[in-house]
Symmetry: C2
Subunit: 142 residues, 2 copies
């Protein structure tokens, strides 16, 4: 199949497929005489694997490692569980950060009731003044 069909099946954009190839995530496919890419079942499965990883937020370099393992399984796969553990911990931290952020935003948001004069907009005042806003420490919320 040509790239358009592969894109349609997988839901991955054509440019993204080409991008993955350039980045070494996908193997270079066959070509027609005219230079069009031709993909087979293997290519499709590899792309699905990549997309599945990406949907789980695994980075390109992580996907590359997993692909290498997939191409050539090793006896020891403990690094994979470690990668996942780290990734889970990371997601957890992001969630906590975002929840904190949301609380801050809501606090700020509630300073303005609408219909307010711009000059005295409570949100602006809060943004101008750390103390007015919240106990917003210097550390990045993210």
């Amino acid at each position: 199949m040509k790239i358009g069909e592969l894109a349609k099946i997988t839901g991955c954009k054509i440019v993204t497929i080409r991008y993955y190839e350039k980045e070494g995530l996908l193997t270079e496919p066959e070509r027609t005489k005219a230079g069009y890419r031709l993909y087979g079942k293997e290519d499709l499965e590899r792309l699905e694997f990549v997309l599945h990883c990406r949907r789980h937020g695994i980075t390109r370099s992580g996907v590359k490692k997993l692909l290498a393992f997939r191409d050539k399984p090793q006896p020891d796969c403990s690094w994979i569980t470690a990668l996942f553990d780290a990734h889970i911990a990371n997601a957890d931290e992001q969630i906590r950060s975002l929840e904190k952020l949301k609380r801050h935003l809501e606090k700020l948001r509630n300073r303005c009731v609408g219909g307010d004069s711009g000059a005295t907009c409570g949100i602006m005042q809060g943004l101008n003044n750390q103390e007015l806003c919240c106990a917003c420490d210097r550390a990045r919320i993210f």
Copy 2:
């Protein structure tokens, strides 16, 4: 004060201050004969404002709009509450996505108990097979 002191006070990196200036978030400061930037109280407050916004995850373009309003308050500030509402909704959605992601990751993670042979690593199998992993739909988790 020179840029180094401003950086120390605000906890913002020197390069970032220069970057904000180039992007038009900070006004161009005075200079010494030698070309060193010289900042005053106004500049400090403006930078604090920017940092405060950024810590709340407001984008550069959002910060720019807020700065314009700060420089020249308008009677109508309803767009600010709208901006915050959208931002809060966004944070909320991100949280939900991440929670879903985390559940997926944990499910996958639990397929491998360690000490496993690489060839039969449960995580790899899960990544290879959408169904084995979870009810992972095609839509991006993020």
